[in-house]
Symmetry: C2
Subunit: 301 residues, 2 copies
C-alpha cells in the first residue's frame, strides 16, 4: 500500500490508515486537526478519572468522552469524531494495555480481542459480558498541533530536525488527586529554545489550551524547580541536543494520564487501555475549534 | 440595624446587607449558595488572568466573569447574579486594592472612588476615563459552601468550633503560568481530621469542583510534600489545634489568585481590586448548580 503525503490527509483518511495498520507514528499527519491521547477504563472508575482531567486540564485537557459505556463507536461532543464507521478499538495505529496499573501489553494493532462487542441477546452470560466491557474512553489533547504552529513560525522543535522522539521527564508537580487517582505527578515534554525566542514560543502555544497550551516552566533553573533528575537522561523519549544559548522549555505532556493509572495500581479493578505513545487518535477538531474548546466541553453539548 | 439569622438569608439579602456595610465576614451566610472570591483587573490583563483560571481550576475555579469591561453591574453567565441592581463595587462587605502587585489598601467598604462610573458624554476626557476604568471582574469559587456540607455530616471544621480563621499556607505547588502571571504558587487551607474520617471528608467535598473540590493532599507527610514551612505558623489565618489522632487535610484556597497578582508585580499596569479575605461575594449559584458548573462556564452561555 502506498501511503500518500501525511500533510495532505484529512483526519478521516489518517484514521482509516490507522485502522488498516498502514501507519505508525502520527506526527505530521493531517496538520490543522487536533490529535488525542487515549485512555479507556472501566465505567466504575470513569467519574474519578473525569474529575482528574477537570482538575488537571493542562496535562489532561479533554477533547471528548465516549457517549455510552461499552460503546466504542460514539464520542461526545459530536464535532470531535464525525465519521459513522468510527471505532475506538481500531482507529489508533497502536495500543497499550494496563492491568492493576502495570503495562502488560504494548504495540497492539487493535483492541478487538480485549474489548469484544457485546452480543445482542439478553442471556445472563451476555449481561455479565456487558458489565465486563462497559469501558469509557477519554480523548486527551496532544501537543502535535502546536508543534506545526511552531514549525510555521520557524521555531521548529529540535526533535523534528533530528528525527528523534521528544524528551519527556517525570517532575515533582503533583497531579491534583481525584478519588482513586492519588500520588501521581505530571510528566513534561522538553524542547530547547534560545532565551530570546521564549516569549514568542509562549505566545504561539498559548491559544492551544486544549492541547497543553503554553509552557509550564523554562530556563536552566526550571530543571531543579520541576524536580527533574537529569536533563541528559529523559524518563521517556530521546535526549535532545542543546545549541549554544539554548535553554530547556517544558510543556505538560499527555503521558501524564498513564502515570495516574500506574500510581492507582491495585485500586483499578479491570483492564485499562491507552494509545502507544506517539501513535495518536486523530480527531475531527481543528485549530479553529481551540477558542471554543478552551472553556471546557460543555459549550458543545 | 438588627441583622437577622445569617442562615435564613437569601443570597440577595446577604448582598444587600454587604452593600449597606451592615455585615463583615460572610461565613455561615445564605447556606446552600456559592460564595465567591473576587479579582478585578484592567481589561488588558484579563485574557492572561482568564487563562490562568482555566489552567488552574482547583485553586481558581470560575463562577462568573463580568459581561462588559468597565461595567460593574452585569455578570456572565446570568444565573450567577440575578438581581438587576447588583454592583461589583459595593456588594462585597470589604475590599482590597493592589498596585504593581502590592496591597495598598485593605478593608475598604466599597470601590466607588477607585472605579468611578464612566460619565455618559463622549468628550476626550470621558473617553480617557473609560480606558482607565475598563476593569474586568472574575468571581472565583470559595470553600464556604463545602464547609456547611461538612458540618451537616458532623465533620465540622475545627475553626468553626474555635471561632478562628482557617489556617492557610504557602506551598511549593506551582500555579501553572499564563502570560504575565508567572512564578506564583498555590495557597492551601488546612482543616484537622482523624485519619479514619479522611475518606468521608474527601467524598463529601469531591462534588464541589467549582469551589476547590476534594483535598489536594493530607497526612503529616503532606506537610513536607507541599513544602509547608511550619504547620504551627500559618502564612494567613490562625494556627489550628490538633486533637490526638488528627492529621492535617489540605485544600486549594481562593487566596491563590492574590498571590498571582503579587508575583506579577510591576508587570501589572493599573489597579487591581479583590475582596477582603473572608468577606466574600455571595452569588445566586446554589449547590444544585455544582454538577453543571464542573465542566466550565461554557454550558451556561
Amino acid at each position: 500500500m502506498t501511503i500518500p503525503d501525511p500533510s495532505t490527509l484529512t483526519s478521516q483518511q489518517t484514521r482509516l490508515l490507522a485502522r488498516q495498520n498502514a501507519i505508525t507514528n502520527t506526527a505530521g499527519y493531517s496538520p490543522g486537526t487536533l490529535q488525542a491521547n487515549l485512555l479507556i477504563l472501566p465505567q466504575k472508575h470513569s467519574q474519578d478519572f473525569h474529575n482528574l482531567c477537570l482538575r488537571n486540564p493542562v496535562s489532561c485537557p479533554l477533547l471528548g468522552i465516549s457517549t455510552t459505556p461499552g460503546n466504542p463507536t460514539q464520542i461526545t461532543p459530536s464535532p470531535c469524531i464525525q465519521t459513522p464507521d468510527f471505532d475506538l478499538r481500531t482507529d489508533c495505529p497502536l495500543y497499550r494495555v494496563y492491568k492493576h496499573g502495570k503495562c502488560i501489553a504494548t504495540k497492539k494493532p487493535d483492541l478487538l480481542d480485549v474489548w469484544p462487542s457485546p452480543s445482542p441477546n439478553n442471556t445472563p452470560e451476555a449481561q455479565e459480558q456487558v458489565e465486563e466491557t462497559d469501558y469509557t474512553a477519554f480523548l486527551i489533547g496532544c501537543s502535535f498541533s502546536f508543534e506545526s504552529a511552531l514549525c510555521a513560525a520557524s521555531l521548529t522543535p529540535r526533535h523534528h530536525t533530528t528525527a528523534t522522539i521528544v524528551a519527556m521527564y517525570r517532575t515533582s508537580i503533583p497531579l491534583l488527586p481525584s478519588g482513586i487517582f492519588t500520588g501521581a505527578h505530571c510528566i513534561v515534554s522538553m524542547r530547547p529554545y534560545r532565551e530570546e525566542d521564549i516569549d514568542r514560543v509562549r505566545e504561539i502555544t498559548r491559544p492551544y489550551l486544549a492541547t497543553h497550551g503554553e509552557p509550564v516552566d523554562w530556563g536552566w533553573d526550571a530543571v531543579q524547580r520541576l524536580g527533574i533528575r537529569d536533563i541528559q537522561d529523559p524518563d521517556f523519549g530521546d535526549v535532545q541536543r542543546f545549541e549554544v544559548g539554548e535553554v530547556p522549555v517544558f510543556w505538560a505532556c499527555g503521558v501524564t494520564p498513564q502515570m495516574a493509572i500506574e500510581a492507582a495500581g491495585e485500586k483499578i479493578d479491570g483492564l485499562v487501555f491507552a494509545h502507544e505513545p506517539g501513535h495518536m487518535l486523530v480527531t475531527d477538531w481543528s485549530v479553529e475549534d481551540l477558542e471554543r474548546l478552551k472553556g471546557g466541553l460543555g459549550v458543545f453539548d
